[in-house]
Structures are given as C-alpha cells and as structure tokens.
C-alpha cells in the first residue's frame, strides 16, 4: 500500500519529463510532483461561499477509494495479504465511486464549468465502465477467476497469446486513456473551457484539498498501468508463495515496466491530437465492442 503511494507522483513526474523531452523542452525535474503536493498542502484552502460539507469531505473520500483500489493491484508480488477482500469488479466499482464523488463536487458550487466537467465525465463513464466490465469478463473467463492475485498467477504460469486477450489489452488501453483523462480523451494540462473534463470538476479546489485530489489522480494512473502490466505482461512478478528473496527482482522488473509504460503513454500522447468530445463515445464504443467481442469469443469456445 505504501509503495503505490510513494511511486505515484514519481510516475507522474517521469511522464511529464519524458513528454517535455519529446517536445524538445527541458521539462520539470523528476521530483517536482512531490514538491507540488507539499506546496499545495501547506497552502490555505479558499472555499466558495456556498460550498457544502460534501465539497470539503469529498477529496478524502476520493483519495481513500482510489488508494484502496490501487493497493489491491499486485505490483511486485502476486500474493497480497488482503487481495481476497475485493476482486477486479470491486476495483472497477471503487474507481466508479471515486468518479461519482468527483462528479458530484463538480456540481456543488453551482458554476457552469463544474457542470460541464461532471456531465462529460459521466457520459464517458457510461461507456468506459461497461467496457471495463467486459474486459474483466474476458480476463476472468480466461483465467478462471476475478481475483487479481489468481489472475496474475495464472497469466504468469500459462502465458499464451490469445485473440481475446489481445482484444482485451487494446480495450483496456483505451479505457485507461479515458479514465485517466489523457489525450486523446482529455488534456490533463489545460484550462480552456472547450477542452476540460477532469480539470473542470476540480476547478474550485485549492490548497490541501487539491493536493489530495492530485494525489488520487496520480494513484489512478499508477493503478491502470500496474493493472495492464500485471495482467498482460506478468513476467518477473514474484509468484504466489515465493520467498521474500523473489521480491527484489519483482520490484526491479515492476519499476522497469512502469517506466516502459509511462514512456509508451507519452509517445502515444505526443503523436495524436485530442478528440472532439462527441468522437470520444465512438472511441470508447470501440473499447466496449472489443470487450464484448472478446467475451463472446470466449463464450463460444474456450480456446479463443
């Protein structure tokens, strides 16, 4: 649990640095997100006059649900102590509740920006969440379980290229891009009304609340990359029941995979433009279609 907390801002810093380098800029230092979070949390919070108790407590709820979800994804070892409390479906639902709270606070202060953000976010969510569930189904039908530890273990021991898993991978990448508010769905670095979705919902936050929310979104990015890595590229992860000596190489491979994942994400982001809002449903519809196709294939025959 602590590991994901430490690594999340580092991942964010890494992606920003790589992106800047690709655009021939120097870019902020790697540890800048830590400094940003510290600075924000020391600042005074400025609340709108009509902000409610929901507004003040939601950042902690969002952070808590995202953190619990992130802590349930195997990183360097498959056997987590409490992995039996929640499976992939529960992780999806936990992220859904974080998103629900975020959308609610977008509407709390009663400005049009918040409304835009919440409305668009819920539209994306109405397609991204079924796509995610379909991906979970595909993976669960292949691995025989929805529990992430068992899935990771299965993928480790029965590695094979399968059509349905290929489709699930592409769909998961699309869903991850949409959920983390990356290009081509949303621009994480903009404040223009026409292009904001995630930023619009948190527009009214400041100080320590904003720090907590930024931490939560960094955790979410780490969660999705860890998820992709642990399900589809599990080599190097310490298997169930391995001795603690296997943790160190597991950790090293995990860090390496995070770097590769971050790099590929930035490569994709710099080579494509942000989509118009109403093209995103087609993009997400593709993910839903792929997930459904994968599930359908597995229903029809076990060897797909």
């Amino acid at each position: 649990m602590v590991l994901v907390l430490i690594l999340a801002p580092l991942l964010l810093g890494f992606t920003r640095k790589v992106k800047a380098r690709m655009l021939r800029r120097q870019g902020p230092p790697l540890l800048q997100p830590y400094r940003d979070l510290l600075r924000l949390s020391r600042k005074e919070v400025v609340l709108a006059e009509n902000a409610s108790w929901l507004f003040r407590s939601a950042p902690y709820m969002i952070f808590a649900t995202t953190w619990v979800a992130a802590a349930l994804v195997p990183t360097f070892a498959t056997g987590l102590h409490f992995s039996w409390t929640a499976d992939l479906i529960a992780i999806t639902a936990l992220l859904g509740s974080a998103r629900l709270f975020l959308a609610l606070v977008g509407m709390d202060v009663g400005t049009s920006f918040g409304g835009i953000g919440s409305s668009r976010e819920m539209m994306f969510a109405s397609l991204a969440e079924p796509a995610m569930i379909m991906i979970v189904f595909t993976v669960a039908l292949v691995a025989g379980s929805t529990q992430l530890s068992y899935v990771a273990n299965f993928m480790l021991t029965h590695a094979s290229l399968r059509v349905s898993l290929g489709m699930a991978l592409i769909a998961l990448i699309i869903v991850a891009l949409a959920e983390n508010a990356r290009i081509p769905v949303d621009n994480p670095a903009t404040h223009l009304e026409l292009t904001m979705v995630h930023e619009a919902m948190v527009l009214e936050y400041s100080g320590r609340h904003l720090a907590v929310i930024e931490m939560a979104s960094a955790l979410k990015l780490l969660l999705y990359i860890s998820l992709i890595v642990c399900i589809f590229f599990p080599w190097g992860i310490a298997p169930l029941g391995a001795a603690p000596s296997a943790y160190l190489p597991g950790l090293a491979t995990y860090l390496g995979k995070l770097m590769v994942g971050g790099f590929l994400l930035v490569l994709f982001e710099t080579s494509i433009a942000k989509m118009r809002v109403f093209r995103v449903p087609e993009f997400l519809g593709t993910a839903l279609m792929l997930g459904l196709l994968g599930t359908l294939l597995l229903f029809v025959s076990r060897s797909f």
């Binding site: 196709l293 029809v300 060897s303």
Partner: protein
C-alpha cells in the same frame, strides 16, 4: 502442434476480423484505402504463418502475391482512380456508425455459431479459423451493403476475397494453381470494374449508385 503456433494463427485471423471492423467505420476514401492495404498486409502475414506452421512452402508465394498485389499495387491504383474521379473528399455511408457496428457484431456471432455447428466433426482449431474467415467474408459484404460509392463497394468486394483466401489457406493442402487463378480473376475483375467506372463517370458525371438508380427510372 504447439499451442503458441496455433495461438498466433488465431491472433492473426482475429486481427483480420478487427481490420474488417475498421473498414466498416471509415468514412473517408483515403482512409478506406489505407485500411484496405492494412487488411491485405495482415492477410499476407496470416498466410505466411500458415505456410510456416503447415510446412507448405507454396503458400509463401500466395502470401507474396497478396502482399504485392493487394497491399501495394491495388491500393495505389485505386488511389489514383479516386484522385482522377475527384471523389476523395466525399463522405458516404448508409446508416449510422453505431447500428453498423452492432450489425457487424451480430454477423461475427452468426458466423461463429454457423461454423462451429456445421463443421462439428472437424478439427476444432481449424474450425475456429474458418469461423473467423466467414466473419471476414460477411463483414466484407456488410461494407458493400452500407456504402453508396462504387469504389468503396469494390474495396468491400476485395476484402471479401481476402476472407476467402484466409479460409482456403486455413484448410490444409490447397494447390497453387487455384491461387493463381483466384489472383488473376481478381485482377481481371478490377480492370473491368475500373473501365466501367470511367465509362459511368463519363456518362453521368457521378459514380453514386443511388443516382444511377434514379437515372434508370426507379424511384425509392
């Protein structure tokens, strides 16, 4: 046969189905031609893999024919035809993208059911490859049905051919002669269609088949 060999074959066949889906939602002519080139590329990769796994070297030739002819020559030629006809800016589909995609999904499901039922005694893995091939054929027909433009209908027809070739190479032991004849027939069909297109365009100033129906006196 090793599990991974078959998995890669499935993967390539599934990839071909996915590219057929991509054909369905292209709206611009050049995009359509590029995706068709990708379609032919994936087909040639798939055929080459079949050649490797079945130990049938003549299939390599089939793969090369598919690559050179369908992935390079025909798209380039169609590119030039499109530019000459001046239709590279038009966007033409019948029905929305959503319903078309759903229809595509339904066709894939249908071909799965049909193939896995009809060939129930056959080798299960070859059967699944055949199911994918049938999906590609049906999706190619869907492309032809949901397009107004004659050039896009040709592309649909070609992707249908690709599906047939996939089916033929999936089943073991198809001789090269048939391959050459198939390739030649494709070439001839293309030339004929190309000639016709130019004649139609000359005559009616358009290749929109809907307009042709109006000219023929049939009102919808």
């Amino acid at each position: 046969m090793a599990r991974s060999v078959l998995d890669i074959a499935h993967m390539l066949a599934g990839g071909l189905v996915l590219v057929s889906f991509m054909l369905l939602y292209q709206v611009r002519m050049f995009g359509l031609l590029n995706v068709f080139a990708l379609h032919a590329l994936v087909l040639s990769l798939s055929v080459a893999w079949q050649a490797f796994s079945q130990n049938a070297p003549h299939l390599y030739i089939t793969a090369t024919i598919a690559l050179v002819l369908k992935a390079i020559i025909i798209p380039v030629a169609l590119h030039r035809v499109v530019l000459k006809l001046g239709i590279h800016r038009s966007i033409e589909t019948v029905g929305g993208i959503g319903p078309t995609m759903l229809a595509g999904m339904g066709l894939v499901a249908l071909s799965m059911v049909v193939m896995l039922r009809a060939a129930a005694e056959a080798d299960p893995l070859a059967r699944e490859d055949l199911a994918f091939a049938l999906s590609v054929v049906l999706l190619g027909l869907l492309v032809m049905v949901t397009r107004r433009n004659a050039v896009s209908q040709i592309v649909g027809f070609m992707s249908l051919e690709n599906g047939l070739i996939l089916a033929a190479t999936g089943a073991k032991g198809m001789p090269l002669v048939v391959e050459i004849s198939v390739a030649f027939s494709v070439l001839v069909a293309f030339i004929v269609i190309g000639v016709f297109l130019f004649r139609i365009r000359e005559r009616f100033d358009t290749v929109d088949v809907q307009a042709l129906d109006d000219f023929r006196g049939e009102r919808r």
